[in-house]
Symmetry: C2
């Protein structure tokens, strides 16, 4: 449904927090250079000492995350990138949106391959308290649907304690996670996803995208 | 309540995934050295290429996380540590526990200060689908209670998009997050928390624990 709360991404609290850790003595230049050089698209971006927040549409977020990851990957350094995606709960301690303001329905954003292989661990949290559109809350049902989507997209590699393991092109991994987040968000207002990505790891000597 | 599902931490799925990113050319030795040297206590530990999983009691997890963080901090290198805590949903794609198996009630584990100042971002996700013990699911109520606890413990520094900012001694930050996780877990079976910690950052030149 589209209404005054769901139409505008920032009003609906659509955004990401990203942490980039580059395992090199010149980490500061690599991280700040990547954040500076990547096209911010239509996003509002604020960089802090723990992570960088970006708010805006799901499509712009996926494009920016993909470009940022590609820029870090291109340095060849081993890096860990963590991404938290959230939608449906803008504000600070309390959601500024009333329950029932959502869900927000968007087309699945299309990603792009970047030519770098990555391994990642992913978790998605549908935070539904009550019945919406006649659908009973069932967070494991929604999580399983997102994992099934990852299987279809070819990035699913296995289930681990508390997370799903994804492997493949860095861009395909990011596209999978954004697709699952927006899919579950078609029936649940407040949906959060967490992703931890390992790039250029010495544990992946034979990796190829 | 104590029953066959809640008595044993591993059976209840009590555990953590930890990612340690050291921003130095000698990252591999620092990370593997810290993981190797820290007392595993009673935990079951498995190290992967993206993160390390540890399963066991809440008290052992807090002790191990504190020792691990202290070991990384003592190297003086800038590091990012990410922690995912989970309880109430063992297994892989699907929870192996039936709904209603929990909650598991434990005393709040006591932490220890380690003498290193840190900044962190924290989020807690109560994943309750239905009424337990006569209490209606309300995930924002539970999140707000955890944040109030952080205020009482003195580590709360502010609310940001999607996360709560914590600052203070690294040990106090970890103790806060474990306390919030076990507190919310007194009424909700499946509770997950995520924490991103920044240690020895060049952005914190005047920091003192």
């Amino acid at each position: 449904m589209t209404n005054q709360f769901t139409a505008e991404p920032l009003r609906f609290g659509v955004g990401a927090r990203v942490g980039v850790a580059v395992m090199s003595d010149d980490f500061a230049e690599v991280i700040l250079g990547a954040l500076r050089d990547v096209d911010p698209r239509g996003l509002t971006i604020s960089t802090g000492d723990v992570s960088t927040w970006a708010g805006g549409s799901e499509e712009d977020l996926l494009g920016w995350l993909t470009d940022l990851g590609a820029a870090v990957a291109a340095t060849g350094h081993h890096a860990a990138i963590t991404v938290q995606l959230s939608r449906g709960c803008p504000g600070e301690v309390a959601c500024e949106l009333p329950g029932g303001a959502g869900p927000r329905v968007v087309e699945t954003p299309r990603g792009r391959d970047v030519g770098t292989w990555a391994a990642a661990e992913w978790a998605i949290y549908p935070l539904a308290d009550d019945v919406r559109a006649g659908v009973e809350p069932d967070h494991m049902r929604d999580i399983e649907a997102a994992i099934e989507l990852a299987r279809e997209l070819g990035t699913f590699r296995g289930s681990e304690h508390f997370v799903t393991r994804l492997e493949g092109d860095l861009g395909a991994i990011l596209a999978t996670v954004v697709a699952g987040w927006t899919m579950v968000g078609r029936s649940v207002q407040h949906v959060v996803a967490h992703l931890s990505i390992s790039l250029n790891s010495p544990s992946h000597p034979h990796a190829a995208a």
